[in-house]
Every structure is written in structure tokens, then in C-alpha cells.
């Protein structure tokens, strides 16, 4: 179930979802339910959640999402400009309305 074109644009605010999916997934727990900005679209890749079980799923878009460290860790020190970039597959992302 992959879109022909990327769903998200560079600079767009996105929320990294927690799909509650058991088994092999590549979305670390520490970034789930966090909001960041799309840094780039990396292209389409074999869905690792299918490949891990020798199933050929559709290709899925992979994105790099940039997060603010203070958003990830309560009590992150005074360096509030520090960031973290993580790679997330399209089905783990949702557009986040920018109204905050």
C-alpha cells in the first residue's frame, strides 16, 4: 500500500506514530508520538516489515524526520537547539497540523 508520490513534503510537520505493531519494525520507541519536520524524502525501499518474513510487500517511501532533543527527553540540558534525525517509513507518519 504505497502511494505513487511521496505523501509528505520537505519541511512539513509530521507526527511519528505508534502503530502498536508486533514483530520486526524499524521505528524506535523513543521517537514514537513525537512531532518533527521532514528533512528529506529518501526514496522508495522494500518494506522491511515484509522483507523480514520473506514476503514481498510494496515499496514504501522513507523519510528523514528532524526532531528537537528537548522534545524527546524531559530535562534535556540547556542546549535546546540540539537535534536528532531519524529515518521513518511513510506509514508510520501522519501530517501534523501546524497550529501550535
Amino acid at each position: 500500500m504505497s502511494s505513487p508520490d511521496p505523501l509528505f513534503r520537505v519541511g512539513q510537520a509530521v507526527r511519528i506514530l505508534d502503530l502498536g505493531k508486533p514483530g520486526h519494525v524499524r521505528t524506535p520507541t523513543y521517537v514514537r508520538n513525537k512531532i518533527g519536520l521532514v528533512e528529506r524524502c529518501c526514496g522508495k525501499f522494500d518494506n522491511p516489515e515484509e522483507r523480514a518474513y520473506r514476503r514481498r510487500g510494496n515499496l514504501v517511501y522513507l523519510y528523514r524526520v528532524r526532531l528537537r532533543q528537548p522534545d524527546l527527553w524531559p530535562g534535556y540540558d540547556q542546549h535546546t537547539a540540539d537535534t536528532l534525525d531519524v529515518e521513518i517509513y511513510e506509514h508510520w507518519l501522519a501530517a501534523e497540523p501546524r497550529d501550535s
Partner: protein, 221 residues
Amino acid sequence: MNDHEHDHHHGAHEPHTPNEDDDVQLTEHEAKFLALKSMLIEKGIITAAEINAQLQLNEKKTPHQAAKMIARAWRNAEFHARMLADPKAAARELGIEVTEAKLVALENTEQLHNMVVCTLCSCYPRSLLGEPPAFYVSKAYRSRAVREPRKVLGEFGVQLPDDVEVRVHDSNADLRYFVVPVRPARAEVLSEDELAALISRDALVGCGVVEAAIGRKLPAL
């Protein structure tokens, strides 16, 4: 004991491989590997010669490959631009074949310090850099580098000014990364080999830095 390794049989036998581990006791895991290797060979899936050939190939993959590439970039602005735009193609210019799907060069600046970790396993651009350092694959680094990068850097002796942004890259899916340290001032006075020698394996994942300027010490008059 074991005097077989001092026999050198040629001809019909597979080439004899010297074993560097003669001073290390055989462990259960090594025995498990040897059992696996013999079964794979007997089944004709791979041969001992192929393992040796692959091993020789792997020996060539060291951080020095990336260090040479970065040194070239520091001495040649056009190559520098090419390396940032397409590091795999730039590596190929030096005869380095990068087999990972995507490789990204993370350039440090005066305002930005990049650091790389794979929290989920040990992803690392092995075809460029060889096997990762012990610290990189340790559970402590994988757990702490994302949460307290500056404290981790401090343990490597890297202190950064407060106005420098630290950006951690979790290599958790399909991209692989290497860090390009800040070009030292007056890098052009050194040769490519001399510059490459300044770039450590630790610096290539952002856990080390390169000196800020070449030749701070003036020659004696």
C-alpha cells in the same frame, strides 16, 4: 597439541589459512562457527577459498578509505562539492566501491557537529569503513548517544562550545552515514596522505575532531 597448521599441503587441498588466533582459547562460539563453516562447505554452498577471498577483500575496507576521500575534498573544492552531493560516486573516483544502497556525507561546520549511531543494531557503512569500532556497537553507546550526546562526546574528550548545535543521526533504516570533520585552516600545506592521517575512525562517526588549523607551531628560525 595441534601441529597441523604447520603442515603446508598444496595441490588437491584447499589453500592453508594461517590462524592468527593460535594464542586464544577455542570458545563455544568459535566452535559453533567452525561447525557451521564445515557444513556449508560440505553442502557446496560456499568454499573455503571463497571465504578467504572475501576475507582479503574485507581487509581492504578501512576508515583510511574515507579519510583519503575527505582529504582529497579538503584540497579540491570541486571534488568536495561532488562528495557532498553523491558520496558513492565520489568514492568510486578513488576506486572505492560502496555497496550500501544510500550513503550520506554529514558535513560538520563551525555551528554544527554531527554524530552517528545505530540504536537498533549496528548499521555502519562497512564497505567504506570496514567493521565498526567496539564502542559503536556497544549497548551503552547505542542507548546513550541519542539521549545525552554531549556527555558521551565528553567521554571521548570532545568538548564543544555552547553555540554549536549537536545533531545525532540514528542510522535506523536504509541510509548509512559518515561525518566530514571541519576542514582545518591551511589544510592545503599538507599532502593528501598527511591530511588523511589526521582523520580518525572515531571522527568519522562524530566522536572525534580534527585539529582546527595546520601548523600552529612555527618552524624554528
